[in-house]
Amino acid sequence: MEIGIFTIGDVTEDPTTGSTPSEHERIKATLEIAKKAEEVGFDVFATGEHHNPPFVAPANPPVLLANIAARTTRLRLSTATTLITTNDPVRLAEDYSYLQHLSDGRVSLMMGRGNTGPVYPWFGKDIRQGIPLAIENYNLLHRLWREKNVDWEGNFRTPLTGFTVTPFPLDDVPPFVWHGSIRSPEIAEQAAYYGDGFFHNNIFWPASHTARMIKLYRQRYEYYGHGRADQAFVGLGGQVFMAKNSQDAVRSFRPYFDNAPVYGHGPSLEDFTAQTPLTVGSPQQVIERYLSMRDWAGDFQRLLFLVDHAGLPTTTVLEQMDLLAEEVVPVIRKEMDAQRPADVPDAPTHEWLVARHRAGQDPVAGGTEDSKAYQDRTERAVREEAR
């Protein structure tokens, strides 16, 4: 089980004081938070990619992650998310490959399509092509990280002839990729097709919806022959605010909740905590809530908490991280690891991926000859031939 934190780097006014950090302060606070994550024992730090105010998450996450890699030794680095739509997949392959070498294999990626429509034209892309861009770009990235002298032609960038990514991934094994989507079946299907991970950022969503997305991904993962449905790689988001005493947690968090950029001035704190994974209360309440996710999500390998947002001061964020790391993370990790069957994989590390690669067990995109998907494709081809 891999437990970490993820940030979108929002620069938001603290509603209790009326003060807003400068971009510089927010960026430096992000570094402090990442260092703290390693110190207190989180497994992962993930950063968003942003191109517009009020966010200062980096436009190119490897810039921030390379800095954090240099300040840490154990912490795994990830994204939440990397825009697979508007970035050139060639540059993604190169930048993340370089970061993977710099950090000795501590990198994974989460692919996303972006939080705002205008980002597409800023990079010369068409928002109506969001899904096709995600599909074609990732398909190229997947090849670039596995093949040398690539010949390629597609719809969204100039063709490549004999192209080889420099540097090639560490030990010839690309970083693990999670595909993130809130409600697009195509992305769950994409994750399943490649045998990659699927991350549902459920922090604003009811469990009933998240469970359906995960079920879709798991069933299709099995269909493509990468393993049983329950062996697929599932990641979830989390959002909590804690105090030793639950009333204190509610009292402290309410002004931030009431004014938060996404849900502020909408549902009440009570309604929102009932409907989504947001838990405001004691560490014990958080533990119970998050352990119960296994009941509807199955064994999941990644859990990322949003802790620095909505104008919370950095000191509060660091306190929350202490509470999480001391009281919550060890219990969830221990319980989840104990309950996970031996033949269900843990969150992939570079070492695990290298071992899988050397054993010749890398997932085959679209499924090997033993898969139901392969059989269906063959039958379809025969039918079309006959016509």
């Binding site: 079946p185 195509e186 769950a188 097709y193 997305m213 849900y263 549902p267 409907q275 269906d376």
Partner: protein, 205 residues
């Protein structure tokens, strides 16, 4: 069993819009009974969902209660919409409900439009403003609408004609409901693992 659902935007208690919804549903059920088609009817008032509708506007996420109402409407064989008219326009709460309703969620469903208002001069709010919304959602908005002004509730039938307007509209709806098989309509589920588009088709497409 055929099901017909009325969405009432009335916020008063008692509400004249809900009263009109009850009368229309009764007339539709009676019409269906004459042709030997038993039907189950239900009125859903939006007042208890008012907060959920505003919350969904802000967060994009339907509450469980609102999600259930969306499902109920999409599974119905016929829908009746009754809105109060404020300042010559359908009440915002009712418009909001349809603006948040799943895309094309009324596909193939006959929809009877009705409204209440202080004066009959509000009656074009249905054809001018509500009809395009229902059509956009692929609902089959019926040609006959029912408008009940304050006067209509206190006048004899010979003067108001409300009962006969309801009868004409109810007959239109009943005919289109009876023409459908009695099974519960399926709600389209784009997350059904059996119905997903295979990835090689997405790649090749």
């Amino acid at each position: 069993m055929h099901t017909i659902v009325a969405i009432s935007g009335g916020v008063g208690s008692p509400s004249s819009s809900t009263k009109l919804a009850d009368r229309i549903l009764g007339a539709v059920r009676d019409q269906l009974q004459l042709t030997g088609v038993p039907a189950q009817v239900e009125v859903i008032e939006l007042r208890p969902l008012a907060h959920d509708l505003v919350d969904m506007t802000l967060t994009g996420i339907a509450s469980e209660a609102l999600g259930e109402v969306f499902d109920t409407v999409q599974q119905a064989h016929g829908v009746v919409v009754v809105t109060p008219v404020y300042n010559a326009a359908p009440l915002g709460l009712l418009s909001l409900f349809w603006q948040l309703f799943p895309d094309a969620g009324l596909r193939g469903i006959p929809v009877l439009l009705a409204a209440t208002g202080g004066t009959a001069r509000h009656s074009l709010a249905l054809d001018g403003q509500l009809r395009p919304l229902i059509t956009y959602l692929k609902g089959l908005a019926l040609p006959t609408t029912v408008f009940a002004a304050t006067d209509d509730w206190g006048s004899p039938e010979a003067v108001s004609g409300l009962g006969s307007r309801i009868a004409v509209a109810a007959e239109e709806l009943a005919r289109l409901v009876a023409a459908q098989p009695a099974e519960t309509r399926d709600v389209f589920d784009d997350l059904d693992p059996e119905g997903v588009t295979p990835f090689d088709q997405l790649l090749g497409g």
